[in-house]
Point group: none
Chain length 485, copies 2
C-alpha cells in the first residue's frame, strides 16, 4: 500500500469513527458494505478493508460472519464529538428574553415537562387520524404526486377550499386571492417583507405573541408598541396618535382572539381600524390563527371584511385546529399579491404538495365544521377549569384573563413575583410556563405569565398549577421577609 | 420586429386597454396567458409581450411572478412606504430580466410547452411511487404523527440519515450538525440571513442560477459577481482580488456541478476556496443540490470537507433526486447553528413532519444509492443526446458546455442571436428556454441560453431543439441582411 493510500484509509477510518462518536452510527448499526464505501469514496477495496481493520483494532467496530461490520455495543458512553447542548439553566442573574424563549421552546420537546408554557394542541383532540388517512390515500392513489409542485399562489384545490371557507368567515375571497404557505408563520413573514423595508417601524400590540416580536426583530424592523386590552383589543386612540406622529410601515395584530389576551375587537373597532389605516395607506397584517376558536361557538369576522383597498393581509393556518405538523397555512395578500408571490419563490419555492392536497380534501369532505364545534366546546371547558385551578392555587391579588377565544390565560400576579424567576423555578420541577416579559418588545409584564390550556385538565395539570402557584406565593413571602429585615 | 409587427402590438395593447376602460377586465383580473392570446389573435409571442410591456409601461397592468399579467388594482402608485423599490443595478436590461423570468416560470405550468427552460425532473425517473407508499404507510400507522412537529434542528430520524449519507459525500457530519429545511431554497435563505445584514455585499458566481440572484436582491444585499468557468468553476484569483478590495459578507456558490455551467471545482481549488475564506473570516454558502448527480458516477466531496472553522454552510435537498414537491432539504450551518435555528423559527417554525419521516425511512431502506446510480446513468445519456442534437441544429459557431454533473447545458451562440428574442420566438412555438441574461445580476450573456435536459430525449425534444436552432440561425441571417442593407 502506497503512503498516500495509507493516509487515505486513516481518513476513511477517522470519518467513520467521527460518525460513531456523533451518534449517527449507533451500537449495533451495520457499517456500509465494503463495495458501497469503495464506490462512495472512490477508494480501493484494500483501503476500505484497512480502514475497517483499524476501527476493529481501536475497538469501535466488530466483524460478523457473512453480515459485514457492525458498531460495537459499549458499556461505557462514548465521548461525544458534538456535546449535547447543555440544558439551559436560568439563573436569575442571567435571564434575558432570548434565553427565556429558548428555554421555553426547548422545554416543549421534553414530554416529561408539563407544557403550561405552550406547544401544540393535544393530538387526541384533533381529527389527525382522518387527515392522515386522507393523506395516505392520496399518496397511494396519485402515484407521482409529490414529485412536482405548484409554485405560488399554491395548490388550486386548496385555494378553492379556502375561498369557500372564507364565506363562513364573513368574507368572500376568491381562490385567486390566496397564497398557500408553510404555516401562518411563513404567511406573516411574507406579509411583513412585502410591506416593509429594513429599518421601518411597525406597530405591534403589547402584549403580543413572542414569535411575532422575534420575527419583527429578525427582519431588522423597529417595533412600536401599542397597548392591547382584554376587553377591547388594540388601543385605537393610541394607534391614531402613533400614526400622526411616526411613519408606520405596517400594523401587525390579532383582532380576533389575540395571543396572549384572548381579546376580541368589536366589529365597529375592526372597521375603525381598517378605515384609519386606509386613510394613512398603512397595511394591516392580520394574524387570524385563533379566529375559528371562539369559546361561545361564534365565528367573528376578520378585520379583512372591512377592507376596500386591498390593504389588509390576512394570515391563517390549520395548525391550531387540524395538524400543526402539516405546516399548511395561507395568506390573502390583497394588493401585495405580486410581491408576496415573488418573495415566496425565494423563501420556500413552493408549499409541499401532498399535505396541501390532504387538507383540501379534508376541508371538502365537510367534517371540519363539526370538528370545530367540538373543539371549541372542549376549549371552553378546559379554559374554565384551568381558570378555576389558577384562582385557587395562585397568590391573593392575582388577576386571570377571561378569554373569548383561543386557549391561553394571561395571569397577572402581585408585584413581588418575578415571572422569569418563576419560569426557572417551575422548570426545575418539570413545569414550563411562559413569562410575561417575552410578550413585549420592552420586557414589560414582569409579574405576569401566560398559561396554555393545551393539556387535558386533570390531576397532572392541577398539581402543576398548584406547584407554580406555591412557588409564586413563596416569592412574595421571601420578598416580605427581605422588606422586614 | 418589423414595422407592421410593431403596429400590431400597439393594436393588441389598445384592445386590451379598451376592455379595461369598459370594465370588461377589472382590477385584479388576469389577462389571457401569452400563449392563449397568441392563438386567439394569431400573432407572435413577441407581439403579445410587446403589447403587455406597453400596458405595463402605461400603468394599466402588472406582471406577477409565475402567474401572468393582471389588471392593476389602483390607478395611482402607492405612497413611498410600499412601492416596488428599485432593483439592484436597475437598467432597461434588468426590467426585461424580470419579465423574462416571469414568462419562464409561467411556462413551467403549461404541460403543452416543451420544458427546455427548466422545471422538475420527470417523475417517471424518480422512485416517487415507493416514496409515496412509504409516506402512506407512515401516515396510516403512526396515527397522530403530523399533529406535532420537531422545531429546528428538525426531525431526528432524518438528521440521522443525513449524517450517515454525509459519509458517502466524504464528510462525517453528526446529526446535530444538520437543520432540516423546506427545500434547499429555505436552506440558502437561512444561510444568507444568518451570515449577512441588509446592505452587505455577497459574492455570487456569474453565470449562476437566477433564483439565487433573486434571493440576494430580495434580502437587500448587493451582488458582487465573480466569473465562473466551465473547467474550473469560480475564478479564485478574481475572488482573492475582491476579498482584498471589498468587505464581503459571504460567498454563495455551487462548487460541485454548478447551475448553469455544470462545472466542478477541483479538490485543490475547493480547499483553496475554503482556506482563503477562512483567512478572511468570510462564510461560504455552498449550494450542493447537484452534488449527487455526477455524470461519471462519482460523488465529489463538497467544499465543506475542508472546513475546519465552521465557516461553510452546506445546503442540499432531495428535490433533484427524489421529490421536489416534498420540499425536504437541509442545511449544515457550521458555527451559525444557533442563529440559523432561531431564524428558522420565524420563517416556517418547523419543516413538515410526515414528509421528513418518509424521506428518512426511504433513505434508511437502502434503495437510494441504486436509484442514484440509474439516475446518473440516465442523465449522462440524456445530456449526451441533447448535446448532439444542439450541435446539429444550432448555428455554426455555437459553443455547448460539457457538464460534469447535473442536467443542464449552457449554449453560447454567435453574437447575432438575442437570447431574449429567442425566448419569445420559441415560446411562440410552444418551447421554453432560459435566456442567459437572467443568470447574471448585470444581464450578461445576451446570446446564450440554458437548456435543461429534464424531458426524456425523443422526437418531441429533437424537434423542439431543431426549431430553436432554426430560429437562432434566422436571427443571424436577419442580422446579416441588415448589415448588408
Amino acid at each position: 500500500m502506497a503512503l498516500d493510500e495509507s493516509l487515505l484509509y486513516e481518513r476513511v477510518a477517522a470519518d467513520i469513527a467521527a460518525l460513531i462518536a456523533a451518534g449517527a452510527l449507533r451500537p449495533g448499526d451495520r457499517l456500509p458494505s465494503v463495495r458501497k464505501l469503495c464506490r462512495d469514496r472512490t477508494v480501493s477495496v484494500a483501503t476500505v478493508l484497512a480502514a475497517y481493520r483499524k476501527l476493529e483494532g481501536d475497538g469501535l467496530v466488530e466483524p460478523r460472519a457473512k453480515s459485514g461490520h457492525f458498531v460495537r455495543r459499549f458499556e461505557r458512553p462514548l465521548p461525544k464529538k458534538t456535546p449535547a447542548r447543555p440544558r439551559l439553566s436560568l439563573s436569575p442573574q442571567r435571564v434575558s428574553v432570548s434565553a427565556s424563549v429558548s428555554a421555553l421552546l426547548e422545554s416543549m420537546r421534553d414530554p416529561s415537562v408539563v407544557p403550561l408554557g405552550g406547544g401544540v394542541v393535544d393530538p387526541e383532540l384533533l381529527p389527525i387520524r382522518a387527515l392522515n388517512r386522507t393523506l395516505a390515500s392520496l399518496a397511494r392513489e396519485l402515484g407521482t404526486a409529490g414529485a412536482t409542485y405548484d409554485m405560488a399562489p399554491g395548490l388550486p384545490s386548496l385555494r378553492r377550499q379556502l375561498a369557500r371557507r372564507s364565506l363562513s368567515w364573513g368574507l368572500s375571497l376568491g381562490e385567486d386571492e390566496f397564497v398557500t404557505t408553510v404555516g401562518a408563520m411563513e404567511a406573516m413573514h411574507l406579509a411583513l417583507r412585502a410591506t416593509t423595508r429594513p429599518g421601518d417601524t411597525v406597530v405591534v400590540a403589547t402584549p403580543t405573541y413572542f414569535g411575532l416580536l422575534q420575527l419583527v426583530e429578525e427582519l431588522n424592523l423597529r417595533a412600536l408598541e401599542i397597548p392591547s386590552y382584554e376587553r377591547t383589543g388594540l388601543d385605537l386612540d393610541a394607534l391614531d396618535r402613533a400614526l400622526s406622529q411616526a411613519r408606520i410601515a405596517a400594523v401587525l395584530c390579532m383582532p380576533t382572539f389575540d395571543n396572549p389576551l384572548g381579546a376580541l375587537m368589536s366589529e365597529a373597532n375592526k372597521e375603525r381600524l381598517v378605515r384609519t389605516l386606509a386613510k394613512h395607506e398603512v397595511p394591516l397584517i392580520e394574524d387570524d390563527v385563533y379566529g375559528e376558536l371562539a369559546l361561545d361557538g361564534s365565528r367573528p369576522r376578520p378585520a379583512k371584511a372591512f377592507d376596500k383597498d386591498g390593504l389588509v393581509l390576512l394570515c391563517g393556518s390549520v395548525s391550531k385546529t387540524l395538524a400543526a405538523g402539516y405546516r399548511v397555512g395561507w395568506l390573502s395578500p390583497g394588493r401585495f399579491a405580486e410581491r408576496v408571490e415573488r418573495l415566496k419563490f425565494s423563501m420556500t419555492l413552493a408549499t409541499p404538495t401532498l399535505t396541501q392536497m390532504a387538507v383540501a380534501e379534508y376541508l371538502q369532505s365537510g367534517g371540519y365544521d363539526r370538528h370545530l364545534r367540538s373543539l371549541r366546546a372542549h376549549f371552553a371547558v378546559q379554559v374554565h377549569r384551568y381558570r378555576e385551578a389558577v384562582a385557587q392555587a395562585f397568590p391573593a391579588g392575582t388577576r386571570i384573563s377571561e378569554p373569548l377565544g383561543g386557549y391561553v390565560l394571561w395571569v397577572e400576579m402581585p408585584r413581588g413575583v418575578s415571572a422569569f424567576e418563576l419560569q426557572a423555578e417551575a422548570l426545575d420541577r418539570g413545569i414550563a410556563i411562559a413569562p410575561g416579559p417575552i410578550f413585549s418588545a420592552r420586557g414589560a409584564f414582569p409579574s405576569t405569565i401566560r398559561v396554555s390550556c393545551i393539556l387535558r385538565f386533570g390531576p397532572r395539570v392541577e398539581e402543576a398549577l398548584a406547584t407554580v402557584g406555591d412557588l409564586a406565593s413563596r416569592q412574595i413571602e421571601r420578598g416580605r421577609r427581605l422588606d422586614v429585615a
